[in-house]
Symmetry: C2
Subunit: 347 residues, 2 copies
């Protein structure tokens, strides 16, 4: 009888182990990242520049995925990715961010944890090396969700984050972009006066829409999203875009999906882009792909806005719609397959 | 034959007139306003103070409704209401707003037009007499949606808005509240160390959650929402709450409803409160009342947050749920009936 009991106990124990094993194995991590959407055309890109962008995206993907593979949290993964892209001067976030009309660099970032809807955001900061880390500190070390300007900088400093002189963020290319846009704008005003057609803003748009972001699903089934940006070149009056607005440019919810946006921020705010997609899934029972397409490929262009986003749902499905010419993007999906792309694909 | 034609033409003309008349008469304007939610208990209120609050709400309601009755836009009505409440030192917005930890007054406001999803918001401004007017200027006179800090102030000044010395917003009562909360907080920290229970924060909460807002449906069937606040007493580090976050504290969409929130802003941001309700209606086919109750009476308290909101849908239905002890609120409904209330009602 004792022997039989032991066999029975062993059976129960094994089946519990097996079940939890199945449970753990079932969730394969997923990571999706972006480096901004805009008028990115192959004809305007040198092979060297293209390679540098691809490499930058790959490095960030591998860094974030290593965390997920090691059993780390989606929150840690998206923060690590965005930090890497902030440090890369090619992308419009952290070092290499675009300049405001006044020749300053004002940074915005947000992070959200899909597990408990915790969120943190900073806007208009000029001295914190990694704005995404400041956003995470706001989420985890304060009772607030959003801090702006000098106050946010003071908080980041108190939290022991790396503080830099604003000149750290400077790159010559972005400075030239500002000068060019200012010239174009004054030229455009002259042209507008003459024939009301204006200049083509293709090059401006490219820079206007720079943003970096990441979304991830970890082995525990938790979703997270992170986004960081320097905003629009030549922005004025303390303008803040969609990036630090929870529900607009950044959102994560274990019930549905995690989303990070890039595009003409004003339209993303007015559409409350990310939350709309999550809600189409939660209340309208739509798939991630259908919901994302409805918002990015229909509602956004119908308002004359443009841009794109990356998203992953709780089952590891990926969506990366954009209605611009290109979007720097990459993913490692639930089968471990990595893809990195820049241009529009014709289906 | 000519005579018959004339009769026929007259008939057509009359029926067109009648139809447009019916159309115009069918939409009766609705206005709902709030002056903040919190621990507002009758036992803590003097009859004089209660009367002053009721009068303040009534004055604002009448001012806004006169605009709607005269065929004015919901946008004009909600701006006028919020301006009136900003000028009234009883409410935590504009004059009489609460103080930050540093003894400053930093104001946030947002406005949204349900007709075209246009929106404007300002955060952390200290010199514009009526922040709601600054938000409207951002919406209508700039290509941006959100401006913060000094930049927003500079824009408001350029737009010719009334600029005041920050001392204009000062009231003795709010200054005393800050001192009391600072005392309580240090006392609370001492108490926490001893018995971990802490002080009752009822009086703090009352001030913490102050906000003013208005939502309206006009005769043209357009919805609009406006919200303005001084934020939380003793707030630190450039904290921004839900008020200027489109989709969180302020949202309007002719397809669904217009909403203005008041409460513990951090939770309203994390829940993307207003847009969630709109989306439950749009994608989940829920009624305004059911959607608002689901968010305010279930999801908000389940996260340990609290507060309330006012809402009107495209058919003129009103919802005013709150999970606090009270909410300063009032409406004039589609039958022209006015009601003003402060405390919780037991059903």
């Amino acid at each position: 009888m004792k022997f039989l009991s032991l066999i029975f106990l062993g059976f129960v124990f094994n089946s519990v182990l097996a079940q939890s094993g199945v449970q753990q194995n079932r969730i394969r991590p997923v990571l999706v990242i972006h480096g901004g959407a805009g008028t990115i055309l192959k004809k305007n890109m040198s092979p060297e520049k293209e390679k540098a962008y691809m490499q930058g995206l790959e490095d960030a993907l591998r860094k974030g995925y290593a965390i997920l593979e090691g059993g780390g949290s989606s929150l840690d993964a998206v923060e690590a990715v965005v930090k890497e892209l902030e440090d890369n001067p090619l992308f419009n976030a952290g070092k290499g961010a675009v300049f405001t009309n006044e020749g300053k660099i004002e940074l915005d970032a947000a992070i959200m944890n899909g597990k408990n809807l915790a969120a943190g955001a900073v806007a208009g900061i000029t001295t914190v090396k990694n704005p995404i880390t400041a956003a995470r500190a706001v989420m985890e070390k304060s009772e607030h969700v959003m801090m702006i300007g000098k106050g946010a900088e003071k908080f980041a400093e108190q939290q022991g984050l790396t503080i830099v002189d604003p000149s750290y963020f400077y790159t010559e290319e972005r400075w030239k972009s500002l000068q060019k846009i200012k010239r174009d704008d004054s030229l455009k005003m002259d042209t507008d006066k003459k024939n009301k057609t204006g200049l083509k803003q293709s090059e401006n748009k490219d820079h206007k829409y720079g943003t970096v972001g990441a979304v991830a699903l970890d082995k525990q089934g938790n979703l997270a999203a992170a986004t960081s940006t320097g905003g629009m070149t030549n922005k004025k009056f303390g303008r803040v875009g969609d990036v630090p607005i929870i529900g607009a440019g950044t959102y994560a919810n274990n019930t549905t999906c995690a989303i990070s946006c890039t595009g003409w921020g004003e339209f993303f705010i007015r559409l409350v882009m990310a939350k709309s997609i999550s809600d189409m899934m939660e209340f309208g029972k739509m798939s991630l792909q259908n919901a994302a397409n409805e918002m990015v490929m229909k509602r956004l262009p119908s308002m004359q806005g443009d841009g794109g986003l990356i998203a992953v749902d709780k089952n590891g499905n990926i969506a990366m719609p954009f209605c611009t010419e290109g979007m720097y993007r990459g993913f490692i999906d639930k089968n471990g397959k990595m893809e990195i792309k820049i241009y529009k694909e014709l289906y």
